[in-house]
């Protein structure tokens, strides 16, 4: 195990920012700490970096307990949200900073700096000052500065949030390529779910100081463990219902909006009574005639987006349901029309209410 966090906790006054948080990474793995602001993801990163001392819990880096170590003895490479490039140093000096601190011989410094400049496509910018660089260039210098010291772990604090949307994607892919190539174990903090899903091996969805769910992008999207995860990642419909019948073959749930779903027993925890049923729009199929596992409703809005279209339905009882269909099928649907929406049981998640 390359890094392990055991039961980390941190509170500011009465606010528990991080609570009993644990996870571990193998060499070369990249985890994304994903969550809204204030969820504790940055605090966790800063505890790993050593800027915040956790009052409880342990951090093990390559098997060594570093919990009490100051930042400069931790061997971490950190890329900051605003890059934190030293404004009074050139690109080359910025990259050299960590090598000088480590007492790397001058000749070796040159070789390693040159390699980084090459790898991050910074050739020709060595003598520039940060203010003379574009945002993307600054970001690459920040990455180069963090990587050149061969850190045990690479920490990235919202590294793409200051880039424009187009650059963000290509930079993310590029970073992922370098990270794979170097086999760098990384922790990556972001509030952007698509960034997390595109780049990380594992995603830890955080909320209120705890990890709500830890898993691969698919697991988190397809099988959200909590209502928070379901709502935070992607789009989701929530329909109120209650468990009507339980048998060996399945569980029947009656929805408030008139309709019955029959789900595999494993999907509904035995203690549940009043429930919320979650289904993502792309797993809702619309048809003109009633089917099994369907609810009926009236089309309110059709929002055409090219490849796809979103259809917002009003259900009996007042709740609404969004269905995603192919863009070319959307033309057939008119507001006010009555339609049936089939919820695919395979993609339904059920939470207590």
């Amino acid at each position: 195990m390359e890094i392990e966090l055991r039961n980390l906790a941190k509170a500011y006054g009465a606010v528990q920012v991080v609570n009993d948080l644990s996870f571990s990474l193998d060499k070369g793995e990249m985890i994304a700490l994903l969550g809204p602001s204030g969820c504790g993801k940055t605090t966790t990163l800063r505890m790993v970096a050593g800027f915040i001392k956790p009052p409880a819990g342990e951090i093990l880096l390559r098997g060594r307990d570093v919990t009490g170590l100051p930042p400069h003895k931790r061997d971490t490479g950190l890329v900051f949200q605003n890059y934190a490039l030293f404004p009074h140093m050139t690109v080359a000096e910025n990259i050299a900073f960590g090598l000088v601190r480590r007492g790397v011989p001058r000749d070796e410094q040159k070789v390693r700096i040159a390699a980084m400049i090459d790898k991050l496509k910074l050739t020709g910018l060595e003598g520039r000052y940060p203010k003379q660089l574009s945002g993307g260039q600054q970001q690459r210098v920040a990455v180069a500065r963090a990587l050149v010291i061969n850190p045990a772990i690479l920490l990235l604090d919202e590294p793409f949030s200051n880039l424009d949307a187009k650059l963000r994607e290509s930079t993310g892919i590029e970073l992922r390529r370098i990270q794979r190539e170097l086999g760098l174990t990384s922790i990556f903090v972001t509030h952007d779910q698509s960034e997390a899903m595109a780049i990380a091996d594992k995603i830890a969805v955080m909320n209120g100081g705890i990890i709500e769910q830890l898993g691969s992008a698919t697991e988190i999207y397809e099988a959200p463990a909590t209502r928070f995860v379901a709502e935070f990642i992607g789009k989701a419909n929530f329909l109120n219902g209650f468990v009507a019948e339980r048998s060996a073959s399945g569980v029947a749930i009656d929805l408030e909006s008139d309709g019955r779903l029959v789900l595999p027993a494993a999907k509904v925890r035995p203690e549940l009574r009043d429930v919320e049923v979650m289904i993502r729009p792309e797993n809702v199929a619309l048809s003109a005639s009633p089917t099994e596992n369907a609810v009926a409703g009236v089309v309110e809005v059709v929002s055409y987006q090219g490849a796809t279209a979103h259809v917002i339905m009003r259900l009996p009882g007042g709740q609404s349901l969004i269905a995603e269909c192919r863009g070319r099928d959307a033309g057939a649907l008119k507001p006010g029309e009555r339609v049936h929406a089939t919820l695919d049981p395979q993609f339904v998640a059920v939470f207590g209410r």
Binding site: G50, P70, H72, L78, F80, N82, H88, R101, Y129, L155
Partner: protein, 292 residues
């Protein structure tokens, strides 16, 4: 500077565009001219006359006398010492307050300025209690075994340096605080994560980015220290004579106004000279950053 700005604005601009800045600057400029420039110039003029004749006699008297060289030297030494002490003491205080995330930070900052609210005279009486041979400092050091003879700081240059450093420290702290506050703490974090211990991160990054604040704070403290009168007069007594107390003596006790104005002029020139050199020296260090 103002005039130059007005002139460039005037090139090819409509008259009203010149008029507005002139109007805006006029009251301030007028006050400055009437209450600062004019008295300064007339002061300088007084020093250039001897018994009704234009003469350099007062300046020759100063520069040909070892005593006055010593006086000037002592004054500059006082200024430099006080500046260094306030800088050394002020940097950590300003830094810690600037980096504090507690709501008490503002309160602490206000607390550091309290010495400014006490008049120099009252403060000096406080120093007497501390500085006399049978005072608190001497007795404390005796009790700690650090000295074996009672020690007197009252009426010594050392006493004046300590007292002035205390008086002027808040100005240094306030100036530096503003600068530190504007430097992103993540820069230090970056340096630390790259292997620099905190003190080195502070030195290599934060202090290198603060020359403006250090210059401003130092010049403020330096110029106030060498022109201070009350503290040297009250704490320093007769022995720690500096330019300011001598100017007072020449003006008030000896009524030799031409010589007093010559002393003022010399002090002014040296202050400007040193300030210029200091600013230049520090500026060169940060020239790299400015080049961008």
């Amino acid at each position: 500077m103002t005039a130059a700005g007005v002139m460039t604005a005037g090139k090819g601009a409509a008259p009203s565009r010149i008029f507005v800045p002139v109007l805006i600057f006029a009251p301030c400029l007028l006050v400055y001219l009437v209450f600062f420039v004019w008295p300064q110039l007339s002061l300088l003029a007084v020093s250039a006359f001897d018994r009704g004749q234009v003469s350099a006699a007062h300046y020759i008297r100063f520069f040909s006398d070892e005593y006055y060289w010593e006086l000037l030297g002592r004054t500059l030494f006082l200024g430099v010492s006080v500046t260094l002490i306030t800088l050394i003491l002020g940097v950590p205080v300003a830094y810690v307050i600037a980096r504090m995330r507690s709501r008490y930070a503002a309160l602490l900052l206000v607390l550091t300025t309290f010495p400014l609210l006490v008049s120099a005279v009252v403060r000096s009486f406080g120093w007497m209690v501390l500085f006399f041979r049978d005072g608190v400092v001497s007795n404390l050091l005796l009790a700690l075994g650090l000295i074996d003879q009672p020690m007197q700081l009252m009426y010594t240059l050392t006493g004046v340096i300590i007292a002035l450093a205390q008086v002027l420290l808040p100005l240094m702290v306030l100036t530096l605080h503003g600068v530190f506050k504007s430097i992103d703490p993540d820069l230090e974090h970056a340096a630390m994560s790259l292997g620099a211990p905190p003190w080195l991160a502070l030195w290599l990054v934060t202090l290198r980015l603060a020359p403006g604040g250090i210059i401003a704070g130092s010049l403020l403290v330096f110029s106030l220290a060498i022109s201070a009168f009350a503290t040297p007069a009250l704490v320093g007594g007769a022995r720690a004579n500096v330019m300011a107390t001598t100017i007072y003596e020449q003006t008030i006790e000896l009524l030799d106004w031409p010589f007093a104005s010559a002393l003022s002029a010399i002090l002014l020139v040296f202050v400007l000279l040193i300030s210029l050199l200091y600013a230049k020296a520090l500026d060169r260090r940060s020239a790299g950053e400015a080049a961008s």
